[in-house]
């Protein structure tokens, strides 16, 4: 069988912990809250609507037979329901959120305010284009800055998230291969073993075959392995490479990699998840990149929202630009902005449409607000501070934790679990951080480092916050090195103790159901 070495405890060991039980289930400010279905009734509503006239019906009998049965809540109940639930969440607004590869930076509130201007938030994607000239101009303006910051000639704005941007870039490569008459022969895409899981998944989604390349001892692409994989080159479609890479390091040989791929007749897809390290200092277009998605929800601070929405505009090189998806905005000679929606004229070589409408407008407004607020000096300073903060964490913690690679890092610091005592795992360190009031770092990723801990502080942290975090993690690391068994029960102070993921996966309960009536007690 294919052996997996990422096994880790997923069902908690029972750990006794004396705690004060309350009648209500609440604990001080932390209120207990049942499921909506247990507190609402089908008679309750929090929306007052006018009574229907009940006179007209043109549905032709195509009507719902069984009511949804869903409960409602009055407005005060609903407000409390969500307020109480919100208090069980950690958030950037509460503290450092060091998830590596996720760029959890401060979300400026001006961005939220701008996105809610009726001229942006209350316009329909299919309104006559004469009535949305400001929206089209905004898309064009953001596109201009994204192209400038990357030194790339074109950008596709419609991808809905990072992985969707990967799909966009790889489809552009596929279309270029179709135009060359080589789509049936060039199937192989090189992907480093340290890549985000989305990379191989995307390549396969686009009909390619994944060929893994190894990392070297410095955490970069192993050039000998790469060259070996390129010895047979007539089946190469391209490479998908994250830069700075998932170990938080700049790929030293990146230009040579780009040259080798191009010489092999392939294209260079760059995963732009870590763009925050280099904005204003390095332009991917100068590195030989053919396509790169930009996560607006990482680098340009549109809020993560508990898992989205994201936005993944994808910049394209001269070689791939003709194949960009529709729609896109053009400015006509008369100064009017226009959406090109059909595959004809300037879009005749387009690979097609990825999604309904024109992309994540709400995120575009926020990202442009961010870019204009920061300006040229602020964007550069933000990248430098992000990198400085990560190196500060690396410098402070490498004394007690194991840094697997030599040298400075970019915007995230990577550690392995080599320093822990037998029986203490990365997950125990992560969960202990929760008790200290922090969200854990990214754990067990990248896969090339055992028990990986990837820490990305971003530029939003003050030195005092970083010191406080380092003090906490340093102390946990010392306990881990000493084999402190108490770590295995952490967290102790969070709203919940460790959850049983094994149970959840073995017998999945994916929605609420009316509890079954208790079986009747047998008569005597």
């Amino acid at each position: 069988m294919s052996m997996n070495t990422q096994g880790r405890p997923t069902s908690p060991e029972s750990v006794s912990m004396s705690s004060i039980e309350t009648v209500s289930g609440s604990r001080g400010l932390l209120q207990h809250e049942d499921l909506l279905f247990e507190i609402g009734t089908s008679e309750t509503t929090g929306v007052d609507l006018p009574a229907p006239k009940g006179t007209k019906n043109r549905l032709g009998g195509v009507t719902r037979k069984v009511p949804t049965g869903l409960p409602g809540l009055s407005e005060p109940q609903a407000v409390r329901h969500y307020m109480r639930l919100s208090q069980k969440n950690y958030a950037i607004d509460l503290g450092l959120f060091p998830l590596g590869s996720c760029t959890m930076k401060h979300n400026p509130r001006l961005n939220e305010k701008m996105a809610r201007l009726p001229g942006f938030g209350d316009i329909h994607p299919l309104q006559p284009q004469a009535t949305v000239q400001g929206a089209l101009e905004l898309i064009d303006e953001l596109a201009t800055w994204l192209k400038t910051l990357t030194n790339m000639p074109a950008v596709a704005m419609s991808p809905k998230a990072g992985a969707h941007g990967e799909f966009c870039g790889m489809m552009a490569i596929r279309q270029a291969l179709i135009a060359r008459g080589e789509v049936e022969t060039r199937k192989r895409v090189l992907v480093p073993e340290s890549a985000h899981g989305t990379n191989p998944a995307t390549a396969v989604q686009c009909g390619f075959i994944v060929d893994e390349i190894k990392a070297n001892k410095r955490g970069r692409v192993d050039m000998a392995d790469l060259k070996a994989k390129l010895e047979k080159s007539d089946d190469i479609a391209g490479i998908m490479l994250t830069n700075p890479n998932t170990c938080g390091l700049f790929e030293t040989d990146i230009k040579e990699i780009a040259d080798l791929i191009h010489a092999a007749g392939g294209y260079f897809y760059c995963d732009g998840a870590n763009f925050n390290a280099i904005v204003g200092r390095v332009r991917p277009g100068d590195l030989g990149v053919d396509a790169m998605h930009i996560n607006l929800h990482k680098t340009f601070s549109t809020p993560h929202g508990g898992g989205g929405p994201g936005s993944g505009p994808t910049v394209l090189s001269e070689a791939l630009a003709p194949y960009a998806p529709v729609p896109f905005v053009v400015k006509d000679a008369d100064g009017m902005y226009r959406l090109v929606e059909d595959i004809e004229g300037v879009a005749s070589e387009s690979f097609g449409r990825m999604v309904a409408f024109h992309g994540q407008m709400g995120m575009f407004v926020r990202a442009l607000t961010y870019i204009l607020s920061h300006g040229a000096d602020g964007l550069k300073q933000a990248s430098e501070d992000a990198v400085l903060n990560a190196n500060y964490i690396q410098a402070r913690l490498k004394k007690v934790m194991t840094a697997p690679f030599e040298g400075y890092c970019m915007h995230e610091a990577l550690f392995s679990d080599a320093f822990t005592a037998e029986g203490i795992e990365t997950i125990d360190i992560a969960k202990a951080l929760i008790d200290e009031g922090y969200h854990p770092m990214t754990m067990y990723f990248p896969l090339v480092v055992h028990g990986a801990m990837l820490i990305e502080p971003t530029e939003s942290e003050s030195k005092a916050e970083l010191d406080r975090f380092c003090d906490a993690l340093e102390s946990i690391a010392r306990r881990a090195a000493q084999g402190d068994e108490a770590l295995k029960g952490a967290p102790y102070l969070a709203p919940m103790r460790r959850l049983d993921e094994t149970k959840a996966a073995r017998k999945p309960v994916l929605k609420w159901a009316e509890p079954e009536e208790a079986p009747p007690v047998a008569a005597e």
């Binding site: 201007l117 400038t148 489809m171 602020g378």
Partner: protein
């Protein structure tokens, strides 16, 4: 710069701790030729809130907001009223500024709302299970097609003539890249049932929509029956989630997979995004599903809690064998959906749906009374197609001059289908009798 807390002294002290001379040391691996010297071309330096707000407001002012006058555009996105409470909830820092709930001990807020969302979506669509959301309806539709090919091990997908053309395009793109054959049936206002004749024993799934792009509602039960008879699946699509309060839902028609756009509940128009894709299916297909799933479990003390589960389907574990490459979904839009749905309750949604339907009936009656107008949609929920004696684009432009956004010309969505005189329009609970009267009067003037 107001977003950057480090002071010059902090930076110097930190460099000292690190043992670096300047930040340039950290960028030593960057090839010299790729280092950007100087500033970002054409971009000014940082600006205060006031200056940025002025710039953005100027752009916003060039757009006509849907609430600023009579507004009748639908066709995949809808103008509904969103309660003030919903926006307050999604602006709570703990929801707005948190990540995907990978650490369940400190993410029960997000997880419980996702569990509630999944339960609501399953009930609304009358399906067994729903996931924690997709990007939008069109990408959910594309993923459903690919999922059906996995589940049936077949390589052919058939699209109805009333499926939203953008959904059809997104589905074709994803399928064709993977060598899946896509058959598009002829565009038709009332042709969803033609899927029943088209399905054969090579077909993985047929994809039908109700209400469809022309507004037509259809009972797809005969399609489900025909599909199942050939070992194929029915994917049932909707773009107007409010219709689920009144119109026969996918599960009652025998659908195996239900996908649709959830924007109508809790989310503004936002010029097309971000929206929220709804995705539900039968219990049998759950392990083939794309996207995140939230499940119930207990913690170490036996307390009920929620976690992301069945993750081995996903890209971060399965990599090149994942069911989809999706990672980020549409969490905050799903929260807006579930909060609005919680405020409405099942009965509130039903009432809202009836109000939508009645407004559309009134609109159809008023427009039908205009000489030369022909209503084309035989059965509808809150939107329909009508024919004008003039070019639709010209009609809409003249309506615009009268301050009325009258709908979408069908030729924008169906270019090359000879629908130059057809307009698609919608009415919702936001549509007033005055709006309808103004529309009918203006149309009478024009044609």
């Amino acid at each position: 710069m107001r977003y950057l807390p480090l002071t010059a002294d902090d930076r110097a002290e930190m460099l000292n701790t690190i043992g670096a001379k300047s930040v340039d040391d950290f960028y030593a691996d960057v090839p010299e030729s790729a280092r950007l010297h100087g500033s970002v071309e054409g971009l000014t330096d940082h600006q205060g809130e006031l200056a940025v707000e002025r710039h953005m407001s100027k752009l916003a002012a060039k757009n006509r907001a849907a609430s600023s006058g009579p507004f009748f555009v639908g066709a995949g996105a809808y103008k509904h009223h969103v309660p003030a409470t919903v926006d307050m909830i999604i602006q709570r820092s703990e929801f707005l500024t948190t990540y995907t709930p990978y650490q369940p001990e400190i993410a029960q807020g997000t997880l419980q709302t996702l569990f509630e969302f999944q339960t609501q979506v399953a009930a609304l669509t009358a399906m067994d299970v729903a996931n924690a959301s997709m990007y939008d309806g069109s990408t959910a539709c594309a993923e459903a097609a690919v999922m059906a090919t996995r589940a049936t091990r077949r390589k052919k997908v058939i699209l109805s003539g009333g499926l939203h053309p953008h959904y059809a395009a997104a589905t074709k793109l994803l399928c064709e890249a993977q060598g899946i054959e896509v058959v598009q049936l002829e565009h038709a206002i009332d042709g969803e049932l033609a899927l029943a004749d088209a399905v054969d024993d090579q077909t993985a799934c047929v994809i039908g929509q109700s209400p469809n792009t022309f507004g037509t509602v259809s009972d797809l039960s005969p399609v489900a029956e025909a599909a199942h008879g050939k070992g194929a699946l029915l994917v049932s699509v909707f773009t107007e989630a409010v219709s689920l309060g009144l119109v026969t839902p996918p599960g009652e028609m025998g659908a195996d997979i239900a996908v649709g756009e959830g924007q109508s509940i809790g989310n503004g128009l936002n010029f097309g995004g971000p929206y929220v894709g709804l995705f539900a299916c039968t219990q049998k297909l759950v392990r083939q599903m794309p996207g995140r799933l939230c499940g119930e479990t207990t913690d170490a003390e036996g307390k009920r809690g929620f976690v992301l589960t069945l993750s081995t389907r996903e890209q971060h574990i399965r990599r090149d064998k994942a069911t989809s490459n999706i990672c980020t979904n549409s969490g905050l839009c799903a929260l807006a959906f579930t909060a609005h749905m919680t405020l409405l309750g099942g009965k509130g949604l039903e009432q809202m749906a009836v109000l939508n339907h009645e407004a559309a009936c009134d609109l159809a009656d008023a427009l039908a009374a205009v000489p030369g107008v022909e209503i084309l949609t035989p059965r509808f929920f809150n939107e329909f197609a009508f024919r004008t004696p003039m070019n639709a684009e010209a009609v809409l432009a003249m309506l615009d001059e009268a301050g009325i956004v009258g709908g979408v010309r069908a030729s924008r969505l169906f270019p090359g289908d000879h629908m130059g005189d057809v307009i698609l329009c919608a009415a919702t609970e936001c549509t007033t009798p005055e709006d309808i009267a103004a529309y009918a009067a203006a149309l009478k003037e024009i044609i």
